[in-house]
Symmetry: C2
Subunit: 108 residues, 2 copies
């Protein structure tokens, strides 16, 4: 598998792009919906989206004149996995302990 961690972490190093990801976790959005909360020109938003799309974090499709953007399922997976592995031994032990101590979560 091609390792695109450079692109993924690079894409996440910008607060506006992270905010777009946070919005898209709640569901797909049109480019203008995504632009709304930002004091940013539409071309600026489109440029940020291009970075996220090149990193495999979002995808988009156009219907008529509306471009809809959505998260790629698992797009953040390799980055999540990498960062999850970088734990000091003591931190890893604490994490495993907390799994044992927490009450079972509701599956609903």
């Amino acid at each position: 598998m091609l390792n695109n961690l450079d692109e993924v972490f690079g894409a996440l190093s910008d607060a506006s792009r992270r905010a777009m990801v946070e919005r898209l976790v709640r569901g797909p959005a049109s480019v203008s919906q995504l632009a709304e909360p930002f004091a940013m020109s539409l071309p600026g938003v489109v440029q940020h989206l291009a970075v996220l799309e090149a990193a495999g974090i979002v995808s988009s499709h156009k219907t008529g004149r509306v471009r809809t953007v959505q998260l790629v399922p698992g797009g953040l997976g390799p980055a999540t996995a990498w960062i999850g592995r970088q734990r000091l031994p003591a931190e890893a032990r604490l994490d495993r302990l907390s799994v044992h101590l927490s009450p079972p979560e509701d599956l609903s």
Copy 2:
């Protein structure tokens, strides 16, 4: 709390810097030990370490002529937490399910 996610994700967007973090998870290392596996000048390594240090991922101290570098405990915490929150609802459900289905981990 000052948000330094830009710096942390930016620091992780380079494969050499990620390799240094992977090495430091196993324990502190001198700058020359860190430089060893890389076809990179010592000043190049020092520059990468400065980026990791500015992001709060590593710290270093000098004893005599030897500078020792180590991971900052919890330095990746905010980035780990942010990326962990960005899950589509279906992925989050699957994760919770897998916690219920996996056998208890050995705590040793």
